[in-house]
Symmetry: D4
Subunit: 214 residues, 8 copies
């Protein structure tokens, strides 16, 4: 095969091998999914297209598609681990694809998830209305583009680890996500760490590792 | 003389000629100040040093020094114009030099000024305690470094023009103010415009032009 | 609905909720427009396509399309507020889409508007011919790409607030608007502030807030 | 006073107010430390100089100085919270100041700490010798400059959250830490998040929040 | 003809003239290939498309196409020079196109080649399994995107020259290969040099010059 | 000697060998100057310090020092070549050191020079007052920092070649001259070319080559 | 009309108004061309497409198309001015479109032109074979992408002004022409100035102004 | 001890442990040198100061200082390995410190070295005069700042591997070595690879590994 599946990864890192579909052909994605399905492995494919789902559902009966998140998931059985839930907070409606990638990934990693969307700082009262559900989480993912201010604001209001995901939403001097990235790296709130631009997947991986801690 | 004073500037632009002391010698600053004093012009010098003030006070009796703002001011007579006041809001104590440069400039331009300092988003309740005085202003200057989120948050809470001043406060990936600059340029609040990094002076100039409108 | 309209925004910030169509589908834009129309809200959609207008005009009779500005507008009734007018000055013919986005937005926000186009510094006499109408405005928006010099030149000639909009017009070392952005941020004229690259909308929002001041 | 201590911060965010000494005078640092001492607050000052410690120890008997970390600490009483320990891993000897800032901060936040230094990828066998102590931690901080590869390597070997701290160690095309920062943000290991360049303090804050989870 | 073939290049630099197809038309590529074929020159075309191969095979019977590497090759006769072989190591499956460009180029330059793919640092045990074949090479090419850590890790494990090829694989803050490029330039292993992003061709050229040394 | 003087340069390029003093010791500069003096060569040293002049005047009687330009010059005999003169236009008083470096270099290269300083676009009427002397020149050098608009404005008013010299004057988002550099490279006036930031020397070299054309 | 032709430009700047077609529709270009033709003006349109030429030739009989240069030209009568010729030197075959834009523009501006293509530093002997024709020119344009070294090499061999045009030819760390741009700005040869990336048009404008000097 | 010497490095990578003195105290450097001396290890310290040498020579009799290279070396016995020699070519006199760091390192690694300095492209005939000694080398290091063109020119003239070292020599738009770095990475000559800015040490390490190949 063209790809060497790192089958030991789950045991070693607590995170399974996953299909990153960007730059792969429809055929390749379907083939890897089929192989994983036949080996009894659970399947998460990110950055998929509609065509990829059409091909995968032929070989993986019961595969689920989230067209906003651009993910395909299939789990042989469902269970929830972690003591609490992961809160996923997003600033605007345009940030929802990244937030949903995080949500799908977290659920795939057996996490309970609560989503709080469209609460950006342009109308900060919306955030305060949802503060309870955010504060009660064990770990919080904040997705925001443009000036990315939401990560700092949330970080200053909670006593839980905050993982910022800068999104590429915006134009001009957002430089494809650089503005939100720098914002979050320079957060004046001390408990905030950051992952790559648009990387909902990575944020959910770390959130799951945190929430799995006993 | 080495510098051609643009004496017509006040009439043309509503803003007088001012001494930008960075890159000038102590002697040059004192000499220009003296010339302006003798011509009956009001004096504002920005980015001054202690030594510059020592030299200027010899030739301009009554000159005032703000060591935090790094400004020297002298006005032949005091008056206040503008219908209301300019609010100057700053995120952290380290942003105060820039905020004070703005305050001194605005006062020099005959503006009433209210300052609201140390209300950054790491503890956003502090901002809400001061919201009344901010909302009542006719124009608002917001100074913030690091992730510069305060400009967006204020912009989303008021119905007055907001002028953001990104400060160079921070280190590492703040890239000397770039993070706050990009943040403010990408503000999700629509009524925010921006001036150069650390440019308290320029923000106050625009604020004065706005507040002078009848 | 997929989007939570911030219906309180007008009261809080003086600026209504608006449809930013980039990254939305034709169907989504039409749906939001319809909902706003039915709720008696005025409608401004920016960054629209021809197809979006075709869909919107089905559900919002009387909707207006400006194909240069890429805006759709609909107002239940017309009125003009503000004591004077907003002048919108553009350097070249290629800057007109951004300038028109500003003009449509300002008019939507009940402002009187005067436009002065194609007066860039390559032939600066063209600017001087129009100086009167610029100087009489209460607030001035200057749109320019390439070296963005026009904002500084205008800023040095008027005693009103100038809002610079760097445009992405140009190629090579303009780096998609960076050259004009840095130019305007470093304007040697003191009363100039800046919004994001190509952000005619934001400039008009701030201009309206300024002109609404009594 | 010149600074408004955010005394509610501990309750709200789980992290106390701290003295960031960069850009403050010796006198200011000593004064704030004294005030906190008298109020019964624990003291952590980061980015201090020798002179600052000399001044602080006059007013805070028992204050501790870590000259490598550039920190002053004082705790009214010692306790350790968190179920396990924080591992702090550093690539080279030049990364030790940043690693020690993290270690001092974590201890100040009542964490047990294990340090594993000088195990960079230029001699990766050194890392494997220490793998046990790293894997047993509940959360891992990795400090590395130059190409910052260590964060990815550790991230691929453990099933615990990894917080990367890019250091500014290096020269030329490291662009003051940019190389390590971009490296860590693009880590091919999925459970890695990142804080600002040289921000040992922030990494320890998040590590403490994680380790405090029950 | 539109291009002046530098026919002396082989004698002067040890590397023959080659067709860089990017930015050329199908017709141009076929025409140059034909001319070289008729002159008895060996042919290597890089960055080709399927259509280019279709056109070239009409005029160069026996031309070989590597669709992954995007290369066309034709050699009038085969021979292998160099005392040993060139090892080509790649981090992920997405790096294979660049690695294959290197492999095809090296073989075209009469080198024996061993490839070791999908051994990135996210699962570093995979690298150790293949260490023997890497260490026995006379020169090693390492292709990696994202954080590009593999070049440093390999550089710290072998006593042969390592040529790093940063790939543009990744997204967001990889800035089209910048992250891997800076990583490799700042390698903490001392025997590593670097070529342009995605430049498998250039790496193979230098590897061949090295391996041809007696 | 430590430096190989390129004595043929004058004949080959029309420009003599010159001492670039930055990064050289006082002793080295004096030694090279002495050697050139004894060989009958004319001397131009740029970027000198006061101490360098003190040392040079000991060994080169009659050497001239321009402390603003930071140049030392010595010519065995004076003559003027070129049909007309070089105009050197500068925006602000802070740009004068760069402008004077250009002036001293041009004079050293036997050019007649006219200087027009402090005519930046913040008060553009000052430029119009001096337009005659600028238009009559055979070639024009324009020095400007901050937004560097002056080069475009002059370029749009004259029918002679304009060489722009971006200066590093400014702060914050001028990024040490980048703003003026990008401005001038994107000039909307077509006859403008650009040299390196602060490179008055290079601009004068090209101006001299132009003015020497018969 | 949508564009205000600057009909005075020729008299004022020695360079006529020209159609920059990028961002204009086929119809707009044809319309402007027609208007200019009817007014007796000569026509140069740059950055045109095949479709634009098809439209223009309908309304401007005798219009010439250079598909490599992407220019349309029409002159009511031919004449050559300037005492000598402009040499246009290009590094590689991929740089020819930019070089041809320069050539067409220079000829349109009544200049004699000599072109010397495919003489880049990878085979520098090719340059030396053509040195005579380069040295005899009155002004030299050098087009080069990638490392842009050719401008410095030519600058060190001639006593005429050299105008460098960095081209965007290359990939990866050429960053769309930035590498060649920085190279040329830092040329160690003193008589080199630079225009925007890919700006053959601008280089030819300045070359014409230079060659027109008596 | 504060540093864990990687004593196995020589066997594993063919390159011994070395003292990188930047960021270390005089005392630390002397202490490490002493320890290495007593263990019978050869000593190379890079980036040293005069004071460091004064301290080292007290504890390592016979230590050699190269004040230009900023290196201290001590070898228990001399031998030369490698079949031929390493040529080190530098563009200007200001590049000599970097070139000498490379030369000292190469000699320390038992290489024969030939240096060819001050042969930059501003006077390219100087390079041709020395071409024989460059072509006869087994591997060539090219040091150049500013536009870094020398690496490409040499690469196009020889059939041996060329390692480019971009130097930080220059100012303004050289951006501390970025211009030369990008130049060399985009070299149009195919056999050129690159190390970090100013990294003479690393270039010599790779050159030694190459020349040691049998
Ligand atoms: N052209 C524009 N540029 C920047 N912001 C805009 C533009 N048009 C609309 N907006 C803002 O975008 C908001 C809608 O964003 P969303 O919730 O993502 O639909 C509006 O309320 C405006 O504040
Ligand atoms: N080394 C550090 N890096 C980043 N933030 C810090 C550091 N040390 C302290 N801080 C933060 O800075 C705040 C104090 O900032 P200030 O109000 O400017 O004194 C503290 O409450 C911490 O949240
Ligand atoms: N290829 C080109 N690059 C840069 N500027 C150009 C080019 N072609 C034309 N121009 C300039 O663009 C102007 C027309 O711009 P516009 O008013 O936007 O049509 C002309 O008068 C020229 O000065
Ligand atoms: N000038 C230099 N540039 C880059 N790396 C160096 C230099 N000199 C020494 N080194 C490397 O730095 C290592 C020592 O780093 P450290 O453990 O921080 O003292 C040595 O083993 C070399 O591999
Ligand atoms: Mg919304
Ligand atoms: Mg504070
Ligand atoms: Mg026009
Ligand atoms: Mg070490
Ligand atoms: Mg893989
Ligand atoms: Mg002035
Ligand atoms: Mg060629
Ligand atoms: Mg020299």
């Amino acid at each position: 095969g063209f790809a060497t599946l790192d089958t030991d990864r789950m045991r070693r890192t607590g995170l399974p091998e996953v299909i990153y579909s960007s730059g792969k052909t429809v055929k390749q994605v379907a083939q890897i999914a089929k192989r994983m399905y036949q080996n009894g492995m659970d399947i998460l494919a990110t950055r998929v297209t509609d065509a990829m789902f059409d091909a995968v559902k032929e070989v993986v009966p019961g595969a689920q598609y989230n067209p906003l998140a651009k993910t395909i998931t299939y789990k042989h059985s469902e269970k929830k681990t972690g003591k609490g839930y992961v809160a996923i907070v997003a600033a605007g409606t345009s940030d929802m694809p990244v937030a949903e990638e995080a949500a799908e990934t977290a659920r795939f990693l057996d996490q309970k998830v609560e989503t709080v969307y469209d609460v950006g700082v342009a109308g900060i009262h919306r955030l305060f209305h949802k503060l309870e559900v955010i504060r009660e989480a064990r770990v919080i993912i904040v997705v925001a583009g443009m000036e990315g201010a939401l990560a700092s604001v949330v970080g200053g209001l909670v006593d839980k680890p905050v993982i910022g995901v800068p999104s590429s939403v915006g134009y001009g001097a957002n430089f494809d996500g650089l503005s939100a990235l720098l914002s979050m790296l320079n957060s004046c709130a001390s408990g905030v760490s950051v992952v790559n631009i648009d990387n909902g997947f990575g944020a959910a991986c770390q959130a799951a590792l945190i929430n799995k801690l006993n």
